[in-house]
């Protein structure tokens, strides 16, 4: 019997981000001449969150889907000297990483879709670099969200980092999501490096307040889509709708029976929402 192989292929990319050499892991699927679609995972997680999208022929027949592990995440090698550094993601370093990946891969005006912190940085791409992208999709994103716990609990020797990260975010998954997908999503959270989720949230909580700035988004330069799950109480539907109200021409949708991790917590349900968006982007591209 032939081996049952998933369609995506994983490789390591050598590149420099802000002058520092990195070795990033990424997976891709779809035709080399497809519309490039770069996927950004949530804080403290990795590209496995997009494995269903990477394996969806309805998507990969038109899109070249690429999902990379952010520096310090998943199978990406942390930069030399990491042991002497406290990891902290910033708007500048996150934006630089995404642009460096797209440049190094020679992607022509890719679509970027990010979730959670990935969604927030997509808003920054729309604000500052819209002309470089074909379309932008922000999942579970807003210009600002009210914090709901103290991130000091995420990295201390008397609390298991993986278990507490997973337990905290478990409530962001919709109760309707299939148990298998719920627990796969949690498993990824249990595997982050020490302090990495906390370092990602520095961007979310301290550095990435985009209120006021989102008013500068011009959707005529680059279309912007916002999609948020109704069970996400971190980035609430109200947060996303408020953000959308400041951006002319943005398309916004609240997704029923989904939470903060739509692509991994309930891939079948997410498909109902994301396929029409991708259709629209593909036809915009033809037109």
């Amino acid at each position: 019997m032939a081996p049952a192989l998933d369609p995506m292929i994983g490789r390591y990319l050598r590149l420099e981000i802000e002058g520092v050499p990195h070795r990033l892991y990424f997976e891709e699927a779809g035709p080399a001449n497809g519309i490039p679609l770069v996927c950004l995972h949530t804080a403290g997680a990795d590209n496995r969150q997009f494995r269903h999208l990477l394996a969806d022929p309805e998507v990969t027949k038109r899109f070249r889907v690429l999902a990379f592990d952010m520096p310090w995440h998943g199978k990406s090698t942390p930069p030399d000297g990491w042991e002497r550094t406290e990891y902290r993601l910033t708007t500048a370093s996150y934006t630089a990483a995404i642009r460096a990946f797209c440049r190094a891969m020679e992607l022509d005006r890719p679509v970027v879709m990010g979730c959670s912190i990935g969604g927030r940085i997509v808003l920054n791409l729309a604000i500052a670099h819209a002309a470089e992208f074909r379309a932008l999709i922000a999942l579970e994103a807003a210009d600002f969200q009210q914090p709901w716990y103290d991130t000091a609990w995420l990295h201390r020797p008397d609390v298991h980092g993986g278990e507490v990260c997973a337990a905290l975010i478990s409530g962001l998954i919709a109760p309707q999501s299939p148990p298998v997908s719920r627990h796969e999503t949690l498993w990824m959270y249990m595997q982050g490096g020490p302090g990495i989720f906390k370092g990602d949230l520095y961007f979310y909580r301290v550095d990435g307040d985009l209120r006021e700035k989102v008013k500068a988004v011009d959707t005529k330069v680059c279309p912007l889509y916002l999609l948020t799950g109704e069970y996400d109480f971190s980035c609430t539907a109200e947060d996303t709708l408020r953000t959308a109200s400041h951006i002319e021409g943005v398309e916004v949708q609240i997704m029923k029976e989904l939470g903060h991790f739509p692509m991994s917590e309930n891939p079948t349900k997410f498909r109902e929402y994301i396929l029409p968006v991708l259709d629209k982007i593909a036809s915009q591209d033809r037109g």
Binding site: W153, V164, L168, G171, E230
Partner: protein, 127 residues
């Protein structure tokens, strides 16, 4: 059944969940859970409920307390809770529940406590 009456069924609910007791096997702690105005004192031993005392107890010390309004617990225990009522932190974020005291054992065993405090959802009659 009032929310406090439902919570009073915790010993049976936890006894019936061997997996939850297994996951809590490193945990021994005394804590307090307030269902509206009614306090419950829990003595947890190796993940099992050694004692559940309902009502005020003079000078009873406790490591930490989780408080929630009657409405918070009632909505939290619906079979499929509505958005914003489905998780302990959703409740604290909306201001209808709170954590007080030494939160270390709570955070060290967070999924256990989330699942423990959601057990009344399994009772017949949950809406």
């Amino acid at each position: 059944m009032t929310p406090a009456d439902r919570f009073a069924r915790l010993p049976d609910l936890l006894s019936a969940d061997g997996d939850l007791r297994r996951r809590g096997r490193w945990l021994t702690v005394e804590c307090r859970i307030d269902i509206g105005s009614e306090p419950f004192h829990l003595a947890l031993s190796d993940g099992a409920l050694a004692a559940l005392d309902r009502g005020p107890r003079l000078m009873r010390s406790t490591t930490f307390t989780v408080r929630g309004t009657d409405e918070a617990w009632q909505r939290h225990w619906e079979t499929v809770p509505a958005p914003g009522w489905h998780d302990l932190f959703a409740l604290t974020k909306r201001g209808v529940a709170s954590f007080e005291g030494d939160l270390r054992p709570l955070l060290q065993n967070l999924q256990y406590f989330k699942d423990l405090l959601a057990l009344p959802r399994r009772l017949p009659g949950a809406t």
